[in-house]
Structure formats: C-alpha cells, structure tokens
C-alpha cells in the first residue's frame, strides 16, 4: 500500500480540477453541491484507498458519478426543465435534460453533449488532462477516450458553426 498524503493536500491540489469538471458536467449553480458530495465521499473512502498514485483520476471518477446521480435525481424529480434539446427516453443517463442556464457560449454547448463526450471535453480543456488520465477517469481505454473527445469536438463545431 502506498502512503497516502494528508487529505488536505488532496483538496489543495485537486479542488480546482474537480470544480471545473463539475461545472462542465452540471453547470455552475449545481456544481457547489456536487463538489461537497464528491469530497465527502472521497474523504469517507480515503483511508482504504489502496493506490494513492492517481488521486486526480480517482476524484474525477467520483465527481463524474456524483454528476450522473445529480442528473438522475433531476430527471426523476418534479422540476420542469426548459430547453430540452434532446429526445428523452426514460432514465437513461445518456439522455439527460439540458443543463440549467449557464449563460451562453461554449460551455452551454458542452453541457448539452452526451455524458461521455461532455466529460472528455471538460477533462481535456477545463482540466488539461492527458488522454490516458481521461481514460482512467472515465473507465475506458485511451482510444475510446480519444474517440469521445473527437466526437464531442466535432459536435461542438457543428453546433457552434
């Protein structure tokens, strides 16, 4: 088992990345709550973490999970959502409602991407992660991460053209 640094160090080093991921995934207004949930879950699990070498990837994975939970809760909940741009079929996480008004511009378009593409784009451009770490965070191969990123960028180009 590798030695784990004090959790405060983990917060200091990765809070900005986690916040950027969550802003990309759920929007600025909701990111705060997801941020708290992400770090509380991480803190709970931390002493039993067996490998402390990729803490950023670990945190980003938890953040992605919290973002998905958050979207599911919203889909189930009674809150009406404006601006649904994608067709929805039930609870499938790949068809989530559009994100709440994040203002205009590119991040709104990013927020409307399917989850894998959205995550890949946020991790690459908001957090500056290399493909291998994006893959680790998303639980897929580097090639698949590259593909998601590519698809996401292509779609953004089309939407913003």
């Amino acid at each position: 088992m590798t030695e784990l640094p004090p959790f405060q160090t983990v917060i200091d080093e990765h809070a900005a990345t986690v916040m950027a991921v969550l802003r990309g995934a759920v929007g600025r207004a909701e990111a705060e709550d997801c941020f708290q949930e992400t770090f509380l879950s991480a803190l709970r699990a931390y002493p039993k973490l067996e490998d402390g070498r990729n803490l950023r990837g670990w945190l980003v994975t938890i953040a992605q999970r919290k973002a998905v939970d958050h979207h599911r809760a919203r889909v189930r909940g009674p809150i009406p959502v404006a601006d649904v741009t994608e067709a929805r079929d039930g609870d499938s996480p790949s068809h989530e409602p559009a994100l709440p008004g994040e203002g205009n511009g590119i991040w709104q378009a990013v927020g409307a991407l399917p989850p894998k593409q959205r995550a890949a784009v946020a991790l690459r451009y908001a957090c500056d992660l290399p493909h291998a770490e994006i893959a680790a965070a998303l639980g897929c191969s580097p090639a698949a991460a590259r593909r998601s990123l590519h698809e996401g960028i292509k779609r953004l180009r089309e939407e913003l053209a």
């Binding site: 640094p5 959790f7 809070a15 916040m19």
Partner: protein, 183 residues
Amino acid sequence: MKTTLQRLTERAAAAGLLDVAYTTADSPFGPLLLARTERGLIRVGLPSQDHDELLGELSERISPRVLEAPAELDSARRELDLYFEGRLDRFDLPLDWRLSDGFRLRVQRAIARIPYGQTRSYTEIAAKAGNERAVRAAGTACGRNPIPVVVPCHRVLRSGGALGGYGGGLPMKRALLELEGIL
C-alpha cells in the same frame, strides 16, 4: 473557493470524518503547527520543524483524514496565546499521547507534571519514568516530545544546570525559561 472549502471542513467534522484537525498559530517564535484528534492535542510543531513532514507523519500513523480546521483548535490557540503573554501557568487541554509509547511515553508524562517555573534534570526525569540509569534515553525522549511547550520539555536541564538541547533551538528554550522566571 474559501467558503466552499470551509463548508466542506464543517460537513466533514459533522459527519465524523475529521480524524486529525490542524491549524497554524502565531507565536513570538514563529508559526506553530497545532494538531488534534477527538481525544485531544496530539502534536505541536515548533517553528524550526518542517510542518508538512509532521502532517505526513500524522497521516501515516493516526489517519490520512487530516484537514485544516482552525476552529477545532481554538482552545489550544487561546491557551498558548495566554501562556506566551505570561498570563497562564497551567495548560488545561486534553492530550492524545498516541505518537509515543513505552519508556518514551513514561518520560513525556513525567515531563508533563513538572510545574510552571520549575526545572528537573534529565536524571530526575529518567528516575520518574522508572529507570534512573536511562539518562540518555530520557534525553532522547525529551527530544522526541510530540507536544512541546504544552508538555514542557524546556523545563528539563542538565544536572549541572546547563541548558541541554531543544528541538526548537536553544534561543527558544532560553526565552521560555526567562518567561517563566527561571533564568
């Protein structure tokens, strides 16, 4: 992000996930690291020590759930402030002794009982700890005191009255002895 992080620390404490809380406090000698667990004060880091290294040791030996949480150390900070102003002659803080064991722990507990304004020799402390011949080991135990100032290892001197050593440097030891009216 400040309020976000403060909220996180408060929620961690409320959820029982804050195993080691720490802060940095000002002192006349420079910044002190103060760390506590739910049992009490576990570590005082002197200005001359590497505080990051001490936090790493706490993470390894107690729990990696180490968070900066100044409010959790309010009473320790208040008592230390009063002590450095010469307005407090007895600390009333619960202590967590888990960083020491065996003879070393017995020595440190004996040091904790030396009253304000008095001194003991390394030999006397070794005897109090149950082995009057282990003077050198008693000296080592003084040097490894995890809770200096509050556990007053600065009150332990050589038999002839020479200062001996101090983890925070001899000028600090001398100043503390002057503060207490010993020198």
